[in-house]
């Protein structure tokens, strides 16, 4: 086994363990942290594919931002585990059916007859000065510029929608305007009163 293979199997093993942890652990926080581990191992495998930009972006976006917010929400939930398990036996047949359907779809798409070294040849190794980031940037802003722009507009719409959903002015809330606070001068607020001392 070459060094590369050892690294691949270590990362893949961690990835599978993490993925199992996501669905198997009883505590939702543990599940979320297992998902973080899975992302991390995935980025290790992607590094082996010389896709360092994608690998680091996976950690940056999913581990660094998305999962933090996920954890944020999960930590504040008070999940009643026993109540959630009540319907377990009742929904088991439906669950098994859906799981089987998903498995079938996945085997059809990513089954061994579609992947493997005999179907897709091993990608050629690049030289040491190959820059994945540069290549991606070039492709993204030339060949795929329209899909890229459309994707960014869709994301922008999603941002606007999310803000619009939560934005509401409550009349009872007091807001402060820092610009106004900074502009306050002594003359606006302070009145110096000169008067003679009181006589006894």
């Amino acid at each position: 086994m070459s060094f590369l293979e050892i690294v691949f199997y270590v990362f893949s093993g961690v990835m599978i363990l993490g993925a199992v942890g996501v669905i198997a652990s009883r505590n939702p926080v543990h599940s979320a942290l297992s998902l973080v581990l899975t992302f991390f191992a995935t980025s290790g495998v992607w590094l082996l594919l010389e896709a360092e930009f994608l690998a680091i972006t996976l950690v940056l976006v999913y581990v660094g931002a998305v999962m933090v917010l996920f954890l944020f929400v999960v930590m504040m939930l008070d999940i009643n585990v026993t109540k959630m398990r009540e319907g377990f036996m009742r929904f088991l047949p439906v669950g098994i059916l859906i799981a089987l359907l998903l498995l079938m779809q996945m085997v059809l798409v990513v089954g061994p007859e579609n992947f493997g070294l005999d179907v897709i040849a091993e990608p050629a190794r690049h030289a040491a000065d190959y820059n994945n980031t540069k290549q991606l940037g070039k492709v993204l802003y030339t060949d795929y510029v329209y899909p890229f722009e459309i994707a960014s507009v869709i994301l922008l719409v999603a941002i606007v929608a999310a803000i619009a959903l939560t934005m509401r002015r409550r009349p009872e809330t007091k807001y402060q305007t820092p610009a106004k606070q900074i502009m306050v001068k002594k003359e606006d607020r302070l009145r110096i009163v000169k008067m003679d001392a009181e006589k006894k």
């Binding site: 680091i56 972006t57 660094g64 930590m75």
Partner: protein
């Protein structure tokens, strides 16, 4: 005598298989980076207490050793021998894992920091992204610590910190986008090489607003005063590490200071030319002290560490909603506008884009 020892050592080295050479070689460099870093962390804590002491017209620690120089050692020994208490209903595994989650990214980021021309452990071409990814990992230590301690104060500290770090990361990321536009590379060595030619060629001038945003976001990312609501003493005792004691607490402390040094080092690399001498072009480049060299990098880093301490001694703590306002409504627009300005500068070929 010495020559025989060296040749003997070399023959042992060559006798080792390749993987062992790679392993021991990297371990050797890791130790060379980590030991001074840990010592600096210890003495930054001392410097902090001394500097803030003088700023508040006190003397600061002066009992242990001459002028208090052994204070950090005494602190470390005390923390090492203190009992680690695990709260009864705490999640034991995550409670003990959180400090490691906190310090590992802070140390791993040093792999790509160039200390001098070519003096870098891992010369990867996506170094800037790597740094950004790792600094964004640090927040897990805080969140997990807050959750695993099963305490309300710790939880509140963790939630505050999570929201704050995620918000300031956006501004920080945009500031770094500006730097990579100017440097034309994600490799830190290349970014420094692009700033060659004297003080006027440093990125601080064309990217001044980004430097401002980056440094302040860095202060916020490390949860330092005036952005230290995650451990606001007056509100939530000590925030996410209320329930930690002994070495587990010390590891959080180490991580915080390692992060401070990291942000200071990055500021000096990205905006102040790293190891480049400010006298470049004025003196001969082979001059030992005035020419380019690691000492300039260390001096610039030390200055920014001092800035961290200075900020802490000067400003009162931000209120939480004000922190959020600053991050979202001030810094992010500033960076977006400046990235646009940079694009215009690139088209007009001004500053670092001059041909």
């Amino acid at each position: 005598m010495i020559e025989t020892v060296i040749s003997f050592a070399m023959s042992i080295w060559e006798w080792l298989p390749l993987w062992a050479q790679a392993l021991f070689g990297n371990l050797f460099f890791i130790v060379i980076i980590m030991v001074p870093l840990m010592l600096s962390v210890a003495y930054v804590t001392y410097a902090e207490r001394k500097i803030i002491g003088y700023m508040q017209v006190r003397i600061g620690p002066n009992r242990v050793g001459p002028k208090g120089w052994l204070q950090p050692i005494a602190d470390a020994v005390k923390l090492m021998f203190k009992e680690i208490i695990i709260p009864t209903n705490a999640n034991r595994f995550l409670f003990l894992g959180a400090p490691i989650l906190s310090i590992a990214p802070a140390l791993a980021a040093w792999a790509v920091i160039p200390f001098n021309d070519g003096w870098v452990l891992a010369d990867v071409n996506a170094a800037l992204l790597y740094i950004l990814a790792l600094t964004s990992m640090g927040v897990y230590g805080v969140i997990v610590a807050g959750w695993a301690s099963n305490s309300k104060y710790a939880m509140m500290g963790a939630l505050r910190s999570a929201a704050q770090v995620v918000s300031y990361e956006i501004a920080m990321g945009f500031a770094l986008v500006g730097v990579l536009m100017a440097g034309g590379s994600l490799n830190l060595g290349d970014i420094i090489a692009k700033q060659q030619g004297g003080v006027s060629d440093w990125f601080i001038w064309p990217l001044f607003p980004l430097f401002f945003v980056y440094f302040i976001s860095g202060v916020a990312e490390t949860n330092r005063a005036p952005f230290d609501v995650a451990e606001g003493e007056s509100e939530i005792v000590a925030g996410f590490h209320v329930d930690y004691s002994g070495m587990a607490f010390a590891v959080f402390f180490l991580a915080e200071y390692a992060n401070i040094i990291l942000i200071a080092a990055l500021t000096s690399i990205l905006f102040f030319g790293g190891w480049l001498s400010p006298l470049e072009g004025l003196v001969a480049s082979d001059s030992l002290l005035l020419g380019n060299g690691m000492h300039w990098f260390l001096a610039k880093t030390a200055f920014f560490i001092f800035m961290f301490l200075w900020l802490r001694a000067t400003f009162p703590r931000y209120r939480y909603d004000q922190i959020m306002r600053l991050g979202w409504k001030v810094f992010i627009p500033v960076t977006i506008v400046w990235i646009f300005v940079e694009a215009v500068m690139a088209v007009m070929q001004i500053g670092p884009w001059a041909v």
